[in-house]
């Protein structure tokens, strides 16, 4: 939902980032206002996933230039957990398995970390159980998943649903969904998309990183951006995604080369 007068949540200017000395992001400019849904599309290796990891603070990536302002704060100055507690959420492309730690414990520790960081009291086990069981409905997740180890033995779809459950609990201001549609069958895709749509409000925003237009049938973006060679090279409305689906990416790369 576009509202020109809405507050700017995220402002990225001339962002450069490298991994192991190789520059991947080469000057990204990007702005997100409250209430908006942005899709970032592009070929493998274009820098989409790197961009999401840099925003979340992955230690393997080094920011070499540029700035990222999140709700008036310099995001790059914050530790990954501080970014999370200030309202940034990254749904992982490949959520990790944490054997031996129950999903319920993990979610409670994360939830209470947020509360503590925001000056609220931690909630006890019983109140948390009520809350998490209620939120599980958002992604139609059976409560039995709460007592299994985090993501261990979960199918691809179950892992992604678990990511959205975390998002439902932590209620981020900015959600970045990295290839959340990959490996999902159509039913799981609907459930996950539905969950994301339910969580969408005029006060928060999401960035969907995806290869395919398919996801965008269910979560309709306000803006579609194309990333190539570490920069955003084209921005349009949702119809750009359809164009990419039918024409591929070559024409954009060619346009970019001419420019």
């Amino acid at each position: 939902m576009i509202n020109e007068t809405a507050k700017t949540i995220l402002s990225v200017r001339n962002l450069h980032a490298s991994v192991d000395g190789t520059e991947i992001l080469k000057g990204v400019n990007f702005e997100v206002k409250a209430g908006e849904v942005h899709a970032i599309m592009g070929l493998n290796g274009s820098g989409k996933s790197t961009f999401s990891k840099v925003l979340a603070g992955h230690p393997d990536y080094e920011v070499t230039a540029g700035e990222v302002i999140f709700q008036g704060t310099d995001l790059l100055e914050l530790e990954p957990h501080e970014r999370a507690n200030s309202g940034v959420f990254l749904a992982f492309q490949y959520p990790l398995e944490i054997p031996g730690v129950s999903n319920r414990d993990f979610l409670r520790v994360a939830y209470n970390s947020h509360r503590k960081a925001n000056g609220e009291e931690e909630i006890d086990v019983f109140d948390f159980d009520d809350l998490v069981e209620e939120r599980s409905n958002v992604v139609k997740m059976d409560v039995s998943f709460l007592d299994r180890s985090v993501n261990e033995g979960f199918s691809g779809g179950e892992k992604k649903r678990n990511e959205i459950l975390q998002m439902a609990l932590l209620e981020p201001t900015l959600a970045i969904l990295d290839e959340t549609d990959s490996g999902l069958d159509i039913d799981a895709l609907k459930i996950v998309s539905n969950g994301v749509n339910q969580l969408s409000t005029p006060k928060n925003a999401s960035i969907l990183i995806t290869h395919y237009q398919r996801l965008l049938n269910y979560i309709v973006p306000d803006y579609v951006h194309v990333m190539a060679q570490g920069r955003i090279v084209k921005t349009g409305g949702k119809e750009l995604a359809q164009e990419l689906e039918s024409r591929g990416y070559d024409w954009i790369v060619a346009e970019e080369a001419v420019a």
Partner: protein, 467 residues
């Protein structure tokens, strides 16, 4: 010239080890005399076995990674009965508040710290051999059992097992009769105090289709707790030397046809203890044995677990966790000897090694020609938290049968940066993330423990350890 020097130093070492083993043997034989259990033929055979053996050195393949030379400095005397203050052991004994409990301090039975079984005495015979023999009915019943079961599981000729057979002060007997299902865990609690050689022994028998949970726990007290307040460092050191002890434990477990034993073993000895232990298991047809062993304490510990089949279609599960810091050493030596068809076995040994600690895993799996259609898997995972920590892992698979499924793996790693980042991205600090991951790593084993009170106590212990 070099040769002469090296052979000279070898012979010095050899004399020391020989003398030391003789010393231990003398102490063991004296303890046997004081025990008044009889068993002369058994003890004599064991003395002969010890005389054929030598005290292990790094040149023995079985002891390559576990150096016992520190023990040579300790002239351990056999443990005598001591006066016991019940309160000082309550933390360990209160772990389990229901079911039968046999408690020994330094290998000597403590009736005041023990509890009787819930079942009628004929269905479940539990008690110290010294007491059971005083009861004419039991003495008569036990005679053939002692003949056929005590010190009769294979592997009894290993030096420390034989030494234990020479000198155990008593035997904790758990004998569950056919078709009996015992709902509450049977607890054998082994406390130690003072600087002694204790040789503790258990004989556990599950008759046909019997089913129960056995909990063994090893713990100790240091007498230097007060001395630590003293400014006189010499006195502190002196107290520590006096408290250095050796606990040589042997538990023999027999499962008759269709029997099921769930065995939980917690080694939480005090920091100056040498803990040498053997668990020897014989599994008859269709029996199920599960061992969950957690090693947290001791200066040096070795758990030798050997499982032998005496029939087809057995199921064996061995789960182990060692969590070590300082300069601790823990060695898990396992042998799974599959000699009948259709056996299944799963083994998972996990180790967390911090500071300058050292963890050893040696897992042998032997599958004979007869053991067709065996399905076995072994996994050893090690987590190293410090650059000074050391891990030696040695899976040994000897598979002769051709139609079997046997998998094994060993990993040594540090905490994965990606896992830490995943938790951080959910608002959890790096430090707390590491604690959670460590806890999770250990909990995979602790979760196998079916006794809720014990599982809770150990998960709390693990949480404290990780923080």
């Amino acid at each position: 010239m070099t040769n002469t020097v090296s052979s000279a130093s070898d012979s010095v070492g050899k004399v020391n080890r020989e003398t030391y083993l003789k010393h231990l043997l003398t102490q063991a034989a004296a303890a046997a005399d004081e025990s008044h259990l009889g068993l002369k033929a058994l003890r004599d055979r064991a003395i002969a076995l010890v005389n054929e053996r030598s005290f292990p050195s790094g040149k023995d393949e079985e002891w390559r990674f576990t150096d016992l030379s520190q023990m040579l400095e300790q002239p351990f005397q056999r443990a005598q009965p001591v006066s016991v203050e019940a309160d000082s052991w309550s933390d360990h004994l209160n772990l389990l508040t229901e079911g039968a409990c046999l408690t020994t301090i330094n290998g000597h039975y403590e009736p005041t710290l023990s509890r009787k079984a819930d079942q009628t005495a004929d269905a479940v015979i539990i008690g110290p051999l010294s007491q059971l023999l005083k009861h004419p009915d039991y003495a008569k019943k036990l005679a053939p059992i002692l003949e056929s079961k005590l010190a009769q599981v294979k592997g009894g000729s290993e030096v420390f097992t034989a030494l234990n057979t020479v000198g155990f002060a008593d035997v904790m007997v758990v004998w569950v009769q056919a078709d009996q299902v015992v709902d509450t865990p049977i607890y054998i609690a082994r406390g130690s105090q003072g600087g002694f050689l204790s040789q503790v022994r258990s004989l556990v028998i599950a008759e046909r289709h019997a089913k129960f949970t056995l909990v063994e726990s090893f713990f100790g007290q240091d007498e230097d707790t007060n001395a630590q307040c003293s400014v006189d460092q010499d006195r502190v050191d002196q107290a520590k030397i006096q408290d250095t002890r050796c606990n040589n434990s042997v538990t023999e477990i027999w499962l008759a046809e269709g029997a099921q034993i769930n065995h939980i073993r917690v080694q939480d000895e005090s920091a100056s203890t040498f803990h040498l232990a053997k668990t020897a298991v014989d599994q008859a047809a269709n029996s199920q044995y599960q061992c969950t062993a957690v090693d947290l304490g001791a200066k040096l510990s070795r758990h030798h677990i050997e499982v032998y089949q005496s029939g087809p279609q057995t199921d064996t599960k061995m789960y182990g966790l060692s969590a070590l810091g300082d300069r601790q050493l823990a060695d898990t030596h396992s042998l799974l000897a599959l000699t009948y068809p259709h056996g299944s076995a799963t083994q998972i040994q996990k180790n967390i090694v911090d500071d300058r600690a050292h963890c050893v895993f040696n897992g042998k799996v032997y599958v004979s020609t007869a053991a067709q259609l065996t399905d076995a898997s072994q996994l050893n995972r090690n987590l190293m938290l410090s650059t000074k920590a050391r891990v030696d892992t040695k899976p040994e698979l000897d598979i002769v049968a051709d139609n079997v499924k046997c998998a094994h793996g060993a990993t040594v790693s540090q905490l994965q940066a990606d896992e830490v980042f995943y938790l951080q991205s959910r608002g959890i600090s790096a430090e707390q993330a590491q604690r959670l991951l460590l806890y999770g790593f250990g909990m995979e084993v602790v979760e196998k423990i079916s006794v809720p009170a014990l599982k809770t106590a150990l998960s709390t212990r693990l949480r404290d350890w990780a923080s």
